[in-house]
């Protein structure tokens, strides 16, 4: 096996890991602060993909230069900063503090609603942007295999977001409040912080990351409504492997799942999802709290 193929595989894995990180970062923060698992994360990601397609197509039909297509993509991702508060205030705030089963069911209801909204607005068939956008930024020849520069752009964006998130969490007051609330939300409330407002911001943050991830993969794949379920299981796999509530866990988990998927797709494409499920099961058996998680979930 040539080195070039190995390199291409690893890079494709890292590219996958980038958007997988965006998918799971929101999950982790939401879980850390609110102790809820967002079952609708996959659907939100798909929503981001569809928004990305629409934003880019509007952008291009407006006569604006093709090479700047990354701008409408990012805007599509960021647009959910409007949707997040709506969902949180309108639906989610009623179930904080209630039995976790009800919380899961509310998120399930949310994913049903969003799925149908996607169907109503965009229809049932897959949507995509013009095919040449993926290779528009050119390709790099790495040891014999051609890797689109776009992949590196996405990896760069994810790294920047990861770094920014890390910085916010560690250095800023806002981030410290988030971490404190994840640890002991009663104490934080006693100290005078509006935890409900924080809940809104945290959920919106997660949603924005999710839609951004969805938008960024658009040039390489089409937006398909059914992707949501698979993404949900992948997201769950990542936070199990990485550890519930841990951002480092999201990063490492995304890398593991991304590269593993890449390898499996190359050699045994039928086993693609199977391998992920297997890793989840193995991980739950041997290290249930994940790599960076705390014991006693």
């Amino acid at each position: 096996m040539e080195l070039g193929i190995v390199v291409a595989m690893v890079l494709s894995g890292i590219f996958n890991a980038s958007w997988l990180f965006l998918l799971s970062a929101g999950l982790q923060i939401l879980f850390g602060v609110q102790k809820v698992f967002n079952i609708a994360c996959g659907t939100i990601f798909v929503l981001g993909a569809y928004l990305g397609v629409t934003f880019v197509n509007i952008f291009l039909s407006g006569g604006l230069p093709k090479s700047l297509f990354i701008i409408p993509l990012i805007c599509a991702g960021l647009s959910s900063v409007l949707i997040g508060p709506l969902i949180e205030r309108g639906l989610l705030r009623f179930v904080y503090g209630r039995d976790v089963h009800f919380q899961l069911l509310i998120f399930f209801a949310l994913s049903l609603i969003i799925e149908d909204i996607i169907r109503m607005v965009w229809g049932v068939s897959p949507r995509s942007t013009p095919a040449d956008l993926y290779g528009l930024y050119g390709q790099i020849d790495l040891l014999g295999s051609l890797v689109p520069v776009y992949n590196f752009v996405v990896i760069l964006i994810s790294l920047m977001i990861a770094a920014a998130t890390g910085y916010i969490l560690i250095r800023t007051r806002f981030g410290k409040i988030i971490r404190a609330q994840a640890d002991n939300s009663e104490m934080v409330e006693a100290l005078g912080i509006n935890t409900k407002r924080m809940g809104l911001k945290v959920f919106t943050f997660g949603t924005v990351l999710g839609t951004l991830g969805g938008a960024l993969i658009i040039p390489s794949t089409a937006a398909i409504a059914d992707m949501g379920a698979e993404l949900l299981v992948l997201g769950f796999a990542i936070i199990v492997i990485g550890g519930l509530g841990s951002m480092r866990g999201a990063l490492v988990g995304a890398l593991i799942v991304g590269i593993l998927r890449s390898i499996t797709i190359m050699f045994y494409p039928e086993l693609e999802l199977f391998i992920v499920y297997l890793i989840v099961i193995v991980s739950l058996v041997y290290k249930p709290e994940g790599i960076f998680g705390k014991k006693g979930f």
């Binding site: 639906l91 089963h101 069911l105 509310i106 399930f108 209801a109 049903l112 609603i113 058996v285 979930f297």
Partner: protein
């Protein structure tokens, strides 16, 4: 059993049974068919609620067992020419018991989110397995299911509607009644009490000497068996099986049915099932966007009426009794 007739609930049950018995006489063929699917779903939901209502475990992948029963029935009839419904049911029970015990060993050690997501993962696994083996399984187009022999009688000569509204209807009603009775005995037994105490307070249950893991495992196996039996019946009723049977949205619908009726009671999920079946039929004939409607209804139930229809009824009955008592 005649003790049942002594109180009002027993009379209610008897009336319902009577209505079900004469239903095919005055209802249209289509509505009889819907009732038939209800019998299969009743069995399925009894199994789901054993896990959810009595043991406190929410499974997001319960449709896996429905699918196992359905595909078992399909293959036994088409590939192995085993046409007897009784044999199919027994084999479905055996297969699901084995699979349930294997899966259960892993799943029951975890609770809440982990349990929900693990069960989801397993059912997604099965779903992708079905899609990948499309040559055998028919994937999302599915397979045709033949007509089983009921109690040894070959019914294939009878026209379809007569079969469905006639012998098959009463056969399924009988199976559903038997299954309900068995489940009632299970949850009223010492074992059922153990499950309820585990649900309420696992720590205390452990201190009282109850083996939590074992009890959950048994509940898991029992519920898998019920799911598979229901699935086998469902496949025979609808005459068709495809990958959507195990898709996670089907699991979600099952949980929805339980919640709609009220999962904290025995008969709640059954009521939820019959309401859901008719609701889905009505909604789907109006619009193709059933997901958003059901999502809104589900959210409404979770926020406003988590006890489901039974919960609402109990609330009004309590108000009624309070008013009566005040006088």
């Amino acid at each position: 059993m005649f003790r049942l007739l002594r109180n009002s609930k027993g009379w209610l049950l008897a009336v319902v049974l009577l209505i079900l018995l004469v239903f095919p006489r005055f209802a249209s063929g289509y509505h009889t068919y819907l009732m038939l699917t209800f019998f299969a779903y009743a069995i399925i939901l009894l199994g789901l609620n054993l896990l959810l209502g009595y043991t406190g475990l929410l499974s997001f992948g319960y449709a896996l067992y429905v699918g196992i029963g359905a595909y078992t029935a399909t293959f036994l009839m088409s590939k192995f020419s085993i046409m007897s419904m009784e044999v199919i049911i027994v084999i479905s029970i055996m297969i699901s018991a084995i699979l349930g015990s294997l899966m259960g060993i892993l799943c029951v050690r975890y609770v809440k989110i982990y349990f929900a997501m693990l069960t989801l993962a397993f059912s997604s696994l099965f779903h992708s397995l079905i899609l990948k083996t499309y040559r055998i399984s028919g994937a999302d187009e599915g397979l045709h299911v033949l007509r089983p022999y009921l109690l040894g009688f070959n019914q294939t000569e009878i026209p379809k509607m007569e079969f469905l509204a006639g012998s098959f209807y009463y056969y399924n009603l009988a199976v559903a009644v038997i299954a309900t009775f068995i489940m009632w005995r299970i949850v009223s037994s010492h074992f059922g009490l153990c499950l309820k105490s585990i649900r309420e307070n696992p720590e205390k249950a452990k201190y009282l000497g109850i083996n939590i893991i074992k009890c959950r495992e048994y509940a898991f196996i029992l519920s898998s068996v019920y799911g598979a039996v229901g699935g086998a019946l469902l496949a025979s009723i609808t005459g068709h099986v495809d990958s959507s049977v195990v898709y996670w949205t089907h699991s979600g619908s099952l949980v929805f049915m339980a919640l709609l009726g009220g999962f904290q009671s025995f008969f709640g999920p059954l009521i939820g099932a019959v309401v859901y079946i008719y609701l889905q039929d009505t909604v789907m004939s109006i619009t193709q966007y059933w997901r958003i409607i059901f999502g809104i209804i589900l959210a409404f139930i979770v926020i406003v009426a988590p006890g489901g229809l039974i919960g609402v009824m109990e609330y009004f009955m309590k108000r009624f009794r309070d008013i009566k008592g005040a006088n």
